[in-house]
Structure formats: structure tokens, C-alpha cells
Symmetry: C2
Subunit: 259 residues, 2 copies
Amino acid sequence: MKTLKVIKIGGKIIDNEAQLTSFLREFSSLKGSKILVHGGGKLASDLSNKMNIPVKFIDGRRVTNAETLDIITMVYAGKINKTIVAKLQSFGCNSIGFTGADGNTIIANKRSETPINYGFAGDIVKVNISTLKILINSDITNIFSAISHDQNGQLLNTNADTIASELAIAFSKDYKVELYYCFEKKGVLQRTNDDNSVINKINNKTYIELKKSNIISEGMIPKLDNCFYALDRNVSKVCIGNPTMLFDHHSNFTTIQKL
Amino acid sequence: MKTLKVIKIGGKIIDNEAQLTSFLREFSSLKGSKILVHGGGKLASDLSNKMNIPVKFIDGRRVTNAETLDIITMVYAGKINKTIVAKLQSFGCNSIGFTGADGNTIIANKRSETPINYGFAGDIVKVNISTLKILINSDITNIFSAISHDQNGQLLNTNADTIASELAIAFSKDYKVELYYCFEKKGVLQRTNDDNSVINKINNKTYIELKKSNIISEGMIPKLDNCFYALDRNVSKVCIGNPTMLFDHHSNFTTIQKL
């Protein structure tokens, strides 16, 4: 079975142009098939502020009214996605930018408006990788912005971590899939402010303990839930850390494992 | 030889959502392989105005500084392109949105800053259709926004009519290509304000006469130059008119022909 790397990069890598360029240069040199999923960083909120459109989050999730969906589509699928594609081409990595609407790849339902109305937020119901497979077989790298569609013409703002795990799961039938969540920290930390306190391995048993002792809390919980969800559905390897983990196997990062 | 339709739609069709949706519904039902190229309409200027970024045109061509390039990338490749793709999926037309950076498809040089500095405007130097061919062979329709790249990581604003003609030419080796320029009028008009004065056929000889007598002038000249350029390079059919020409062969429109 061939290996496929699904790599998600977070907002802070995107916000810093030099860091993004350096990441993309190294990403281009990664051997084998790969898919990149990117979040939006603070550019979408910056544009909302410039246009006097209120930015609203509930429990860390963006509330996406029609104006905000336009901004997200413009920033994620336009500016960020196409900047990444153009940079990758300059490094010789042939790539195509995708949303979930492209190739009918990621199909979602608009989230129920109760108990909380998140607006045009999508919960994934189906992933359709037939087009992606054709492209991967032609050595083309797909770059995903975190937008899905409902097959009735509606684009939907969708969590980038979830897009990455759902893509990883969908490919696991045909590929040995490795899923990497890259962010600014070295991994899941024992002590929030100590970047040298990386927890190297977390399994379903230690995860429960780490949550009980509040070492893992808030935003890290949905991220780790995504990781275990993917492992339960045949993704072969799931790691969290900064992008160095992709290029230096001796670096410190967190591997999520099933017992 | 298989037939491929390359269809360019202009700004005014995009600006009117009902008209765009109705066009896309009919476009979806067109048999055979097809590529859609879209301009930007007034949405880009609207966004510039909202953000207090000056909009500047010289001889009908947009001056694209760095801020304007961001806006164009957001509006053309983000909002418009992905709205079109999502709508097409709802009509059962499997499509993927492209810029010239995607698949390394349209390579351009930044236009010389003398005599007029148009900023990040691209003049096409190469069209690379290998990825598009793979997708067309898989029954996927490609939707192009009018953006190219220079292979050094720079996106460039590029004339949509030219992208359409260059794509049409590039495919003419392997396909019988028909190129359609759709806009709000029924075709090239004998009398500017009389929509019933469509000139049904223009060839290289009558073109010279129509220019001499000022019946064809200004913005229509580069459009017709593009048409003859394409005909000279083996595009089999070139037409100008409103979208009705695609669906009703008895409608009135202009066919451009070589003598």
C-alpha cells in the first residue's frame, strides 16, 4: 500500500509570510503523495474589521453569517489558497487548490440552528475522493481550504481539523495514511507555557487521565478527539506538533496512539 | 476529433445573481466537454471601494497594485469562482475552479512597466493543458478565473478574453475547439444602441471595413483581435453574443470567420 500524508497547517503559520514560505519550500521536498489542508489565520478577521463586519465566536467557533461566509470564501479559497498554490509551483510542486465544492469532494449539512446558531457552518456528511485520486495518481498535490458545500449550491464554513481527519479516513481504504496536525507549538504540552514539556505519546487511556487532570483542556480536546476518531477508522499514524516533525524525525512532537 | 467548448462569460452576467444561476443551469446541460472562463464584474471594484482602495483604469484595463491584486484574487478566485463551482455541483455538473497557478496551467510575465505601469498584470507566455486534459477525460468541467502566475510565486491579473483564446488555441491540437464570448449584447452591433442590428458574420476583410467606418471601435477591437488570433491558430469556430447562442442555434449572434 502506498503512503499518503495529510497535513493540516494552522493559522499562525499562515499569518507569518516568511514562515509560510519556508514551510512550503520544505513541504515541496516531501517525498510521496500528500494533501495540505489549511485554516484561515487572522486574515479573515482582519478583513471583517476593515469592512466593519462584526467578528463573533462562540466556544472558539466562528459564527458565519452571509457576509462572513463571503469573507471566508474570499480569504481562505481566494487569497490564502492561491498564494499557497503559486508558491508551491515556484518550488516545483504541481498543485491545485480545492474547496469541498471542487470535484464535489466534501459534502456537508448546514449545522442545526439550535441550540446555537453558527450560521453557514457545515458538518461533514460525505467525502468523495474519486477526483482527488485521479490527481494524486498524476502526481498533483491538492491544497484544501476549509470550506465545504451542501450540493444545493451553498458553500459552508467547515472546521479545518475535521476536513483533514475526514480526508485521511476516506483515503485509508486505499492508502497507508499519516495525518499530521501542524501548529505553532512542539506538540501537546504537559505545562501550557513550557514548550519543552512535549508529551511524546498519548493513547486512549492516558488521554482520559490528561483530561481529568486538566493538562488537556479547551481547544485541544476537539483536536485530540479528531485524532482518535481518525485512528479508530484506520488512519495509520496521527501526530501533533510544529512542522519540524515532518522533516526531522528526531524532533520532539506528540504521537497519538490506540492502545 | 472530439469537440471542446471554451466559453467566456463577462462581468454583467456575473453581477446579476439570478441571471448567473439561470446561465449556469443551462451551461450544466450542455453536452460534451467544456471549459468556462469568467471575468470579475463590478464586485472587485465594489470591494475596493468598501476598503477605500482607489480603483484605477487606463484604456479600460485595471491598474493592479499589490492591494488590488489581493482583492482580485479574493473576488475572482474566491467568491465568484467558488460560487460558480457550488452552483454547478447543485446542477449535477462536476467542476473544479482554477486559476492559472493551479496545475501550472497559465504562465505569464509581469507586463513591462513602460510605457504604462499596469502593476501586477500578466501577459501569457505559455499554456500547459496536461492537467486539464486529465480532468476533461474524467468528465470534470474546469472553471477559470482570470488570474495567471509567473512560476516564481507571483499571481498576476490577466485578461479573461485572452485566457479564453489561449486555452482554446492550446486545446486545438487535440480537440475541435469552439470559442464563445458571451456578454450582455446579442453580438457585434451595426448600431451601438440597437440590439437588433447584430452583424451575423465578420471576416478579416469586413473587419477592416467595420473598423474604418468606426462601427467597431474601442473595447470591441481587442475582443475581435483575440477572435482572429484564435482562428489563425486552428480554433474551429469563434462566436460573440449573449449566452442564448449556446442553447438556441436559431438565435441571432456574431460568428467570426476567416476568409
